[in-house]
Symmetry: C2
């Protein structure tokens, strides 16, 4: 396994791989890898001849009051996991390698990808303005650097997944976006690098987020479809110290809000437990 920091070094390897007609899989991450990431990497290994994991805490997808500085960075532990899983290259660039020496990078100095605003100006995008522009921009860069045939994303970031699929379609990128299921702790909590921020009590309260989602699914399977009923049920299950940001029901093919649940409905929650913002979802 190679641990590379420079774009040109990645390109050299890619060139050789393309020469050999290997298929290339990319798993873009911000590091602090957990079992969710491991499941993406395993899927990439099954699907592709060569696998690149990028580890990059992308400054332009964090808002000014978000956790860019304190976001967990655990490159040694991450490398160990990647090696065990048979990753071929870890690409872990410094911010300067990706964005040059600009200290406060904005769209005055740098090219940005702006996904369709209709999909950005809702759910997580409402509370995190600019977030998905930053995600789309770095992902585009990673796609171009790695020339991957497949890229693997977790369903946990459902809005991100939807948006990136649209970007690929709109810009005619020749890459397959593969969605992988959410990995959970045994008590239901969706894995997230941000779970490490949670105190014991906050973690306990956070479990009610997935509990609410599972209850909605259970009701749906008994034939209930009305989202108002689902909403009220969820509220009754969420711990009172959980600060709900949104609970939304959307068609995962069009991203339109729905009033009735059916197959392919996304049920998504964002909420704070203590100061930690968590997201979770299920797709029927």
């Amino acid at each position: 396994m190679l641990l590379l920091n420079k774009i040109d070094d990645v390109r050299k390897n890619i060139k050789d791989w393309k020469e050999e007609k290997y298929t290339i899989g990319l798993v873009p991450t911000m590091g602090a890898l957990h079992k969710g990431h491991a499941s993406l990497i395993k899927k990439a290994k099954e699907t592709c001849d060569k696998v690149i994991v990028s580890i990059f805490v992308n400054p332009i997808q964090f808002g000014p009051n978000e956790d860019y500085d304190k976001y967990p960075r655990t490159i040694e532990k991450d490398s160990e996991l990647c090696r065990e899983l048979g990753v071929d290259i870890i690409f872990a660039p410094a911010p300067e390698e990706m964005y040059g020496e600009n200290k406060k990078l904005s769209n005055n100095e740098f090219t940005f990808i702006y996904p369709a605003y209709n999909y950005v100006d809702c759910m997580c995008g409402k509370s995190r303005p600019g977030h998905f522009d930053g995600v789309a921009t770095v992902v585009m860069k990673l796609f171009n650097i790695t020339k991957a045939d497949y890229a693997f994303f977790g369903q946990k970031d459902a809005q991100q997944l939807f948006i990136l699929k649209q970007v690929v379609k709109d810009l005619n990128l020749d890459i397959n976006i593969i969605s992988c299921p959410i990995v959970r702790e045994t008590d239901g909590l969706a894995l997230s690098s941000r779970n490490t921020y949670l105190s014991e009590t906050e973690r306990k309260n956070a479990i009610t987020i997935s509990k609410a989602l599972f209850k909605i699914k259970e009701l749906y399977e008994t034939g209930i479809k009305d989202t108002n009923i689902m909403f009220d049920t969820a509220i009754s299950i969420l711990n009172k110290d959980i600060d709900l940001e949104y609970l939304e029901f959307r068609n995962f093919e069009t991203f339109e809000k729905v009033n009735e649940l059916k197959k392919n409905t996304l049920i998504a929650i964002a909420a704070k437990s203590g100061k930690t913002r968590l997201i979770d979802n299920i797709i029927l």
Copy 2:
């Protein structure tokens, strides 16, 4: 030569070419081809194994009061020229093929590339808001569809050329942008598909645009460097019916305005002759 309208048909050919390790050159145009375009195509033929000319009047780079509808469309004449020059594929999609069925396409419904605003919010970008976003977006799509190794652009659109180079750099695109010199009529008028809009008088007046530029170059070669002197000289040469939009002096490596001319200074004019907006420039 193939004339293709569908993205998938282009992709099929590209796949075969890549298999054979041919280098691919792209000449993006809006059709109404003239000798300027021909020079780009010839350069592409010299440089690459296979040459694709795209002919697409790109709606999203035109403002609401611009000439999208009346822009000249001469596909049969264009095809003839391309055939003579040994072009391998003309890609001439309908707007729906590029942007789907959206009638009024905006960044609410579609992913856009926004080049760095510092380079967009000046010169032609000032009077044509959104223009370079539309250009960057369609060019990105064409790059992704054709997987070209080289793309050829005329120096006449100097700001476009500068911006596209930045987009390629910022987004790590693996493509070489090749700039080709301005082609002129014998009287100096820079070739443009929009020259067909000019009446005899308007055309005569328009010649003073290139005359002004040549005079600046002449003065520079005698040792004069002050842009104020150059500006006044140009004004004295421009016909009084020419409506000057801008005359700017910029470092073509940084795009910063300069007060003194030196090597690599861009001297750029936009002006209207009658209702027709024309641009021209020289780079020292």
